[in-house]
């Protein structure tokens, strides 16, 4: 019996170690979803880019946070059915993942929700932008703090 428990523990640890990577797993399934565009920028690419980056928008300092990012996932769709599915899935994921609502900006043509979660392993900021005909989810994951995020806007 002890041996079985040991085997299970070993397998669980193996699975956990394989699961731990830069991406937020909940959003990975959109990589091969029909009518959904999935973009992933890895830590490696961000570091390569970060070395030669200069602020492109005045007043926005992205360089400090760029070095702390582990990955960026961009999921977007213009298909009505896919948008409906994305919205439902995203809301469920946010609830199940115990994300906290950081900011909500509602305008006539755009509704934006920004959620965040901080853990020992990594921090995640999820931005959902609903523009009616287009729905976009941007997921930033890394070892940043909320202070780092807010610094970007100063």
């Amino acid at each position: 019996m002890k041996t079985i428990v040991k085997i299970f523990l070993c397998v669980a640890m193996l699975v956990a170690s394989l699961q731990a990577n830069a991406q937020v797993k909940e959003f990975e399934k959109y990589a091969d979803t029909k009518n959904v565009t999935y973009v992933f920028i890895s830590k490696f690419m961000l570091r390569m880019a970060g070395a030669s980056s200069a602020p492109s928008v005045p007043g926005v300092n992205t360089k400090s946070i760029m070095n702390k990012l582990n990955g960026i996932q961009i999921i977007s769709s213009e298909n009505k059915n896919a948008i409906a599915r994305l919205k439902t899935d995203a809301q469920n994921m946010v609830k199940q993942g115990k994300y906290e609502l950081l900011m909500q900006v509602d305008e006539d043509d755009q509704k934006v929700r920004i959620y965040h979660i901080e853990s020992k392993r990594q921090s995640v900021v999820v931005m959902m932008a609903d523009e009616g005909e287009e729905f976009t989810i941007i997921v930033f994951s890394g070892t940043f703090t909320m202070e780092d995020v807010m610094k970007m806007t100063q």
């Binding site: 992933f40 900006v105 920004i114």
Partner: protein
């Protein structure tokens, strides 16, 4: 490789009388010792005069106890096999999605940088928008508080 070894082995001369000596030795072993058996099956068959079925010697003493697979071991083996198949199946199922998702969309770091900055700028823009509204609300709140304080001061006089 195997063919070469066989050829080499065939070329090695067999010492004279080795075959006879080996036959003699085997005959001696067969005459003196008990027959070898595996599990409960005798090596020579049940009716052979020298065969000893596992469990008891002809004189009634146990030869050795067969160490067959017990229930616990069978469960352990079944659980291990199920576990290995389960884990293998899980990873085979996930492989396609993981491969697609873990690939960098952009191979050019500059394009990746542009996209990353665009995403970060969009986040900063929306945060600024929210913060701007918060600043406005704060300013209104401060003005209301100041007016209220002034009114209170007038009333106190």
């Amino acid at each position: 490789m195997d063919e070469l070894n066989w050829k080499e082995l065939e070329q090695i001369p067999i010492p004279e009388g080795l075959e006879e000596r080996l036959e003699k030795k085997i005959d001696e072993w067969e005459r003196s010792g008990p027959s070898l058996s595996y599990g409960h099956l005798p090596l020579y068959g049940e009716n052979h005069p020298e065969s000893i079925s596992l469990g008891n010697k002809p004189n009634g003493h146990p030869l050795h106890r067969g160490r067959g697979l017990g229930r616990g071991s069978l469960w352990l083996a079944a659980a291990s096999i199920a576990l290995v198949f389960g884990v293998g199946y899980y990873f085979l199922q996930k492989e396609e999605t993981v491969n697609l998702a873990e690939q960098d969309t952009y191979q050019d770091p500059l394009v990746a940088q542009q996209e990353a900055e665009k995403a970060l700028n969009l986040l900063a823009y929306n945060l600024n928008k929210g913060m701007g509204q918060m600043e406005k609300a704060k300013a209104i709140s401060n003005r209301t508080e100041m007016t209220l304080n002034k009114q209170l001061q007038v009333l106190e006089k």
